[in-house]
Amino acid sequence: MASTAATSDAGASGTGGHRTHDSGMERLIGGRRHLAPVPGAPLLEVTDLTVDFPTDDGLVHAVRGVTFRLEEGEVLAIVGESGSGKSVTSLAIMGLLGKTARVGGSVKYRGIELLGLPQKDLAAVRGAELAMIFQDPMTSLNPVYRIGWQLAEAIRAHHKVSKDVAMRRSVDLLRMVGIPNPEERVRSFPHEFSGGMRQRAVIAIAVANDPDVIIADEPTTALDVTVQAQVLEAMEEARRQSRAGMVLITHDLGVVAGAADRVLVMYAGRPVEIGSVDDVFYRPRMPYTVGLLGAMPRLNDATGGKLVPVEGSPPSLINLPDGCPFAPRCPLAQAQCNESEPALREAGAGHLAACKRLDAVPGLVAERLGGGAEAAAPAGVPGSGEEAE
């Protein structure tokens, strides 16, 4: 069973329903002896991830200790404002940050430590095991190569198949992500595609090698609202077929409600709340999450349709305060909040929140989100109904 991925012609079969390691059987990644998955290890385990960037103004602490686990086939959403460290986290996991970035902590894929892995080994993992969908489809594709060529290249990077086979698989992939007329469209250049189509192509590239983890960094932010739902659907379809786990980074809570199993809320480079979608949406225990929910438009609104923005702006990540970084904007802040930064605490089964006043939060929820927790349920969200589990 060793190096199944390299020898099988999964590429030609097209539908991508082909799995090789559900049984947890031993195999090597890219045929590399030292890249052997540890049996029983979680799919993706990020522990105390930190990322610093040196700048003229000082060291920017972009990510300050992110810890989470992703299980097989699970969708974990990471939400937060711009600059909360979501994107940097995803790039750090993929090892795609620039040379100046200082990355610490641990990122384990099936028990294999990815941080500090040589570029060649990383190349064997990327695309094949961990794939990524980027934010801006307009610039994500190489302008000088045809779409089909770029897809086939991704396939041939991990599978020893002929160009012809790779191209036929590319056509199937484009069809899967909903590009009409894929036989002709493989011959198009990126500039001949619309934004939504390009993002579909990027999604096709991401799932080309049947990865186990897909990291989607704000995949619909740069798209027109009308296209967003379609692209999300294409992504969900692609994910379902490859049965991959997914880290979905977004600031659109509607997307989260529709697509995710669990949610991680980030603020100022740290996770401040993590739990199931239900927990976080209906029983938030961190005032920042409450603020985010209050700022989200809802149809069945009990508070009279008013959106409540989170006042103030996030702190500078160069000189962080000693206490809770959210305290200056927090309606519940007290003197103790400025003393030290709160750690994540148990707020329920599988539900963690970083707040010193955990017990006071439900009151805030009642006040801000109109009493009944149900009111916080997002509505009118693309694709929400069918997916919520």
């Binding site: 190349a123 993992v125 990327r126 695309g127 190489n142 000088v144 290249e153 990077a157 990027v202 090698n209």
Partner: protein, 325 residues
């Protein structure tokens, strides 16, 4: 088909530019001065001779009329006569041959080394190599071409002296009255070429490598390179098939645009090394107010630069699918 139409369009755009260029250069050329100034101040020359010369050179005709005469000759490939009465075309084309030998070699070398230096310093950004090449390119970008040529001349003479052998010829583009076979000619021809070509190449590498470095850095930081890496391509493939492929496109235009700069440098370099090329022709035509010679000079270089830009545009279109659309 697609490309053919694109090429045709580019050629059609170039023609009005060329026509306008010819008229403007004509205005410039007829205003450089009086070609008979020395005759007029010489008391021994009879007035009738001067009158005759004026008629021969059309000095008293209107500018438009003179332009018409010149254009009708130009379309037949006739660039007219110099003040001394020689044919302009053969003289200029001989000079052009001399100059192009130098420019072509320098352009080739500077493109090769400029691209390599630029790419390496971008890939190894902030390394010792990067700082070194950046420093060197700043230096060569700040050196007057004539001074560098003079410096290399001094160095060349020193080398020749200490080696008791003439490796570097520092005067003229060829050695007159050479005897011997082809290969001995070859050696001396190269000996004449070394120093001027090195001068031009060093100066041009400086700007080309800076440009290539910046372009490469832009590409390396682009989203599509990040996606290429995320696809799991080998670092080598990302570098060659994606980064380099994209970073080489803009340099095509830059080389074509720099051709005019090459002629600037060539004029200086040739003068320092005493070549009888385009540089000398330019200086002579201006100093003796030789309308036809100057016009011919400017038009020949203009045609070359326009043609190079045309080729660059077409090449750009071939290399970058976005332009063709």
């Amino acid at each position: 088909m697609d490309v053919a139409r694109f090429v045709l369009r580019r050629i059609l755009i170039s023609i009005p530019v060329l026509i306008l260029a010819s008229f403007l250069t004509f205005i410039v050329a007829v205003n450089t001065g009086d070609p008979l100034a020395s005759l007029r101040t010489n008391p021994k020359i009879p007035r009738a001779v001067i009158r005759q010369e004026e008629i021969r050179l059309h000095l008293n005709d209107s500018t438009v009329h003179r332009y018409q005469i010149w254009v009708s000759g130009f379309v037949h490939g006739d660039l007219g006569l110099t003040v001394q009465g020689q044919k302009v075309a053969p003289e200029l084309f001989h000079a052009l041959g001399v100059t192009v030998r130098m420019i072509a070699l320098a352009a080739l070398l500077s493109v090769i080394f400029g691209v390599i230096v630029g790419v390496v310093s971008a890939v190894r950004q902030y390394s010792a190599v990067d700082y070194l090449t950046t420093g060197a390119s700043f230096l060569f970008y700040s050196i007057p071409v004539v001074w560098l040529a003079g410096l290399l001349k001094i160095v060349g003479i020193k080398v020749n002296e200490s080696a008791h052998h003439t490796y570097f010829y520092t005067l003229g583009e060829t050695t007159p009255n050479l005897t011997g076979g082809f290969f001995s000619h070859m050696g001396t021809t190269l000996g004449h070429l070394y120093l001027p070509v090195i001068t031009l190449t060093l100066i041009e590498i400086a700007s080309l490598s800076r440009y290539q470095r910046a372009t490469m850095l832009d590409v390396l930081g682009s989203d599509y390179i990040r996606l290429a890496r995320a696809k799991g391509l080998s670092p080598r493939r990302v570098l060659l098939r994606h980064s380099l492929r994209n970073a080489l496109i803009p340099i095509v235009t830059i080389i074509a645009l720099d051709l005019a700069a090459f002629f600037n440098g060539a004029v200086g370099t040739e003068t320092v090394f005493g070549w009888r090329g385009m540089g000398l022709e330019l200086v002579q035509s201006v100093r003796s107010a030789d309308v036809n010679l100057l016009l011919g000079w400017l038009m020949i270089t203009a045609v070359i630069v326009i043609a190079a830009n045309l080729v660059a545009d077409i090449l750009y279109g071939v290399l970058d699918p976005r332009i063709r659309a």
